[in-house]
Amino acid sequence: MAWQKQILRVNLTTGSCNIEPLNMEWAESYLGSRGLGSKYLYEEMDPAADALSAENKIIFATGPLTGTMASTGGRYTVVTKGALTGAIACSNSGGKFGAELKMAGYDLLIIEGVSEKPVYLHIEDDKVELCDAGEIWGKTVWETEDLLAQKYRDPLMRFAGIGQAGESLCRFACVVNDKHRAAGRSGVGAVMGSKNLKTIAVRGTIGVRAKDPKAFYKIVNEVNARMTDRDEMARDGTIAMVDVTNGFGSLPTNNNRSVRFEGANKLNAEAMHSPNENGHTNIVTNGACFGCTIGCGRICKIDPTHFSVKDRPEYHGASGGLEYETAYALGSACGVDDIDAATFAGFLCNEYGMDPISLGGTIAAAMELYDIGAIDDSTTGGIKLEFGSAQALCQIAELTGKGEGFGADIAMGSKRLCEKYGHPDLSMSVKGQEFAAYDGRSMQGMGLAYATSNRGACHLRADPYGHDFETTEIEGKAKIVAESQRDVAFLDSSGLCLFPGGCGWGLEDYRTLVDAACESDWNEARMAETGERIWVLEKLFNLKAGLSKKDDTLPKRILEEPADVGAGKGLVCRLDEMLPEYYQINGWDAEGVPTEETLKRLNLN
């Protein structure tokens, strides 16, 4: 149990909605969510197909623990071929949508084909219908949710959909659920937009049953008692990391020209908690996803006198505020130290449905193009796109959301943008996906993790943090990255969040929960093998999609320009030394292709 043992398949070309049994053999081998969704995608589509074509599928996948009483059991994953990367995309989100989809009776929702006209999907348990989206197409995520909530008048109905960015095929459009949680990365929203699917409205009343409810309840309480460090995360959220990386010298600044930001103290936890000169405090409270006992979310308000919202009362309310990644992308990456401007740009991301990491990373690249004269005011429509300009950040973010003016160029993502203007090296990305908030020179393990991440640069595909903060020497990092990639693949497939791992839980806590909830024996060896199988399956998808060793790399800046300050001062990322060892540890050949022996061991041949 814990699986619902059925999937919902919606074909947008034919308009059919069918309930099918879950392939339990695959569930036993790939667990759920990221792993199981990837397996279905791998088996059902040609990885070489264009991400925005009808051949691509988009899968909303819950895990066996999604919707259970396990802490943080609200996660789901959107699996598809990424519009930004051309690689496999598995974009994870919290909020309440995933649990609602699971409680409607589905482990997976598979969307295929393309609708002739805009539609939305309405699910209430086994009642499923495609509805005309004429009235909501062109609306923001927030407007769409409000209109449909008014129509159905069910306060427990949950929504996951796209804004105008997804409709206009912005390469880093995301799927936003519950207004400010998002399956953010890799352009999954553009895939949804290419299918003319505006949103999914779901209400579930079936519930989720664990294998042995009493035993599961006991273990839930036991592991919750071990979550000892959650108060810190609830109070400061992930934005506490700003001071850590800035102090260490790994906070990417001005498109990674530097690794330390002078204005960091205006974007950190203290700044968020402290009243400004007008007596306005950015943070209102913290927020939690379904079943979460941590509550790391930031619920914030913009100073109503700030230039970005001065005459726009619709932005004066509280909504999803800056997390560490957004503080970096919409702050230090662009050299902007204005917490209200960054919060406003973050609101726009949620409203229009854009990944703030890629938006900020692309604006930062554009700022460098502007700085070196590769683009000018005639390109930007008169916007002075200078590093540090809060005004430019806000203007460009809004134009990008609407797909207007120079925003249409930004919507291509930094790789395509920098290629267009003749400086491909200025895109701080891997496989076309912009860096997260860690520099791969002072954090060598993170550099390797970025380069080898199956979905493009990502800070949540491996766990090199502890070792990276201890040493910049590369010995041991390949093993840490390889092994933690497998661990994270398993955890992501459970339906739980990764953050309990930073609040006191170990791998064993996740494993015992899976074992108590799901049929058959989920021991340590099986957990490791399942994680590795998922990681290698994603790799196989990418190989079939045409990616190769040449894509397991980093921008020239990280490989050739030494970090300017901090723990990594004078260092470049020694990727060329770590990568061969990483391939070897994984049982892959020198070109990064899994060997027959490895495939056989994982039942992937």
Partner: protein
Amino acid sequence: MDISVTLFGGLRHFLPAGSSFNKCTIKIDDESRLEALLEQLPIPAEKKYIVIINDEKVSREDYADITINSDDTIVLLPPIKGG
């Protein structure tokens, strides 16, 4: 002499009473070593952190050898993760 120490992230829970948001002042003897300063902070032994002095990371094995100067900027960082 008085030394200002900044504790980031969750470490600031362990600041002595009367400290500001994330800073405290520690009184130590002249010529004191880093190890002696750290012992004055009420941080539980099981809490891991790294030490940055004047923007440079300090190795754990050097704590007993490093002499603190009155104008040193000392920062303690917890090895948190995620984003």
